[in-house]
């Protein structure tokens, strides 16, 4: 004889399951020895007092907590009261609300539909049992009850339930993380992180990117002089239009703080038109900010909007340290876009010569005087976008 011991299963109710299986009167394992099943709370639904009593005692002997209901209506009331139940043993023939109706009501309620149901039936009721299994009952227990069969069916049902509960919890966690990620990361990166290919892409890879830097001219001095409420309001208005365009043009947002916006195209999802797409987004954004500037001017706020865009090879991937990672791009192309943005006058969208050559049929642009940029030992050719063609 072996004692039934509580395993490390996840307790699903507020009961202390171990209390049922400890002490001098420890229950004995009945039938073939096998791994003990973690105790669960079982609802026994049967209009026969004798059947309920028998099942309750047998279940308690197996280390489970058993509660009872005399008919379907009572069972549904117990379940509706919020008592956590791991398994229902359900009699078929009962007055008022019978086994079929009870099962149907449980399956129709999303909170109860996942609780496994074992039908209790006499051998001459098999037709009804088949119908119940079609309706979603997991199995049946023939009467008179056989202890080994009861133990095996209860164990299997509880194990399945736990697996399902674990899966549901896991799914909920993944879903929550995805939602949280979407809140903190760009939607594209959030999606990437949650995808099966995520780990490989995050590990780092090299490819051609179009990199955009944009910010508000005069923002620093505005922050020094304006009311905090006004600063927050302006930043919110600005971020709202930026967020809208970044999403609309499917840019990968790397950084989004204060007045600065840093994003790139063609990664993690390839975009054949990444060069022109970047220019289109910034032109649309410039129009948005222009509309905002009218309102800002009436409130005494004077802020300009400048953009730098470059195209070239960069390495993208997870950069940072444990607990704080970013999906980022590294390379000369990134620095170049940042420097161009720094040189842009209010209202200017500056492109590198290479980018301009790639988009010139679609873009009205004028060449500005060559720039001497920090860290670059030759004059840099740059073009200012006046607008889009066509």
């Amino acid at each position: 004889m072996t004692n039934v011991t509580s395993s490390d299963g996840v307790p699903t109710g507020e009961a202390a399951p171990t209390a049922l299986v400890t002490g001098g009167d420890a229950p004995r394992a009945i039938g073939p020895t096998h791994e003990a099943v973690a105790p669960g709370r079982v609802l026994v639904v049967d209009d026969s007092r004798m059947n309920r009593l028998t099942l309750l005692r047998m279940l308690e002997r197996l280390g489970h907590e058993a509660i009872e209901a005399a008919d379907g209506a009572e069972a549904l009331a117990v379940l509706a009261s919020g008592v956590a139940v791991d398994l229902v043993l359900l009699d078929l023939v009962m007055p008022e609300v019978d086994g079929f109706e009870t099962l149907a009501a449980m399956k129709a309620d999303p909170r109860l539909a996942t609780i496994p149901v074992l039908m209790i039936s006499a051998v001459d009721e098999l037709d009804g049992v088949v119908r119940c299994i079609e309706m979603g009952a997991v199995d049946y227990l023939p009467r008179p009850f056989k202890p080994t069969l009861l133990e095996a069916r209860v164990r299997t049902s509880l194990a399945d339930k736990r697996l399902r509960d674990d899966n549901a919890r896991l799914l909920a966690t993944v879903e929550r993380q995805r939602t949280e990620l979407a809140r903190f990361l760009s939607p594209r990166v959030a999606q990437l992180v949650s995808s099966p290919e995520g780990e490989a892409l995050l590990a780092g890879h090299r490819g051609e990117l179009t990199v955009v830097f944009a910010d508000l001219r005069g923002f620093t001095s505005f922050c020094e002089t304006a009311d905090p409420e006004e600063i927050v309001r302006v930043v919110r208005e600005y971020h709202a239009v930026v967020g809208h365009r970044v999403t609309e043009y499917e840019a990968t947002l790397e950084h989004y703080a204060g007045d600065g916006v840093h994003c790139f195209f063609n990664d993690p999802v390839p975009q054949e038109d990444h060069r022109l797409r970047a220019v289109r987004m910034t032109v649309a954004l410039r129009d948005d900010v222009l509309a905002l500037q009218g309102d800002w001017a009436r409130r005494g706020v004077r802020l300009g909007f400048g953009v730098g865009i470059s195209v070239g090879q960069a390495t993208t991937g997870r950069i940072g340290f444990e607990g704080r990672y970013a999906y980022a791009a590294l390379g000369a192309v990134v620095n170049l876009a940042a420097r161009l943005s720094g040189e842009a006058l209010p209202g200017q969208i500056l492109l590198t010569d290479e980018l301009h050559a790639a988009v010139e049929h679609h873009v009205e642009a004028t060449r500005i005087p060559d720039l001497a940029l920090k860290g670059i030992d030759h004059p840099v050719v740059a073009w200012n976008v006046a607008g889009l063609r066509g």
């Binding site: 209009d47 026969s48 004798m50 009593l53």
Partner: protein
């Protein structure tokens, strides 16, 4: 057969060789069966086939659990007849069920003396 002794032996094993618990189950049976028989008789007299079938069903199941096979068989016949819409000879069968129940009661009391072991 009035009482199949293996049913009680099974039940004894089932509840962890606890004769007191078998006594509790048997007492429940003995207390409830007269209600089921009375309910059957009343329903048959009133022509209420649904209630008749339900009481017969419960008596059948409970009787099988304690090994009262003959009584379970009578209850099964009444249940089937009521399901097929026939009162028929139900009153006679119910009367013979009541007689059989007294035999079951005596047999169970005898079995109790041996601690429910055959």
């Amino acid at each position: 057969m009035t009482l199949d002794p293996t049913a009680l032996a099974d039940m004894l094993a089932m509840v962890g060789d606890d004769p007191e618990f078998v006594s509790e189950i048997v007492d429940t049976y003995l207390a409830d069966a007269p209600d089921q028989l009375g309910g059957m008789a009343a329903a048959a007299a009133a022509g209420d086939l649904v209630t008749l079938g339900r009481h017969a069903h419960t008596l059948k199941g409970n009787s099988r659990n304690v090994g009262a096979v003959a009584l379970a068989e009578i209850a099964r016949e009444v249940e089937e007849a009521s399901r097929s819409g026939q009162i028929g000879d139900a009153p006679d069968r119910i009367a013979s069920a009541a007689v059989e129940f007294e035999r079951v009661r005596a047999a169970l009391e005898a079995a109790r003396q041996t601690g429910w072991r055959p």
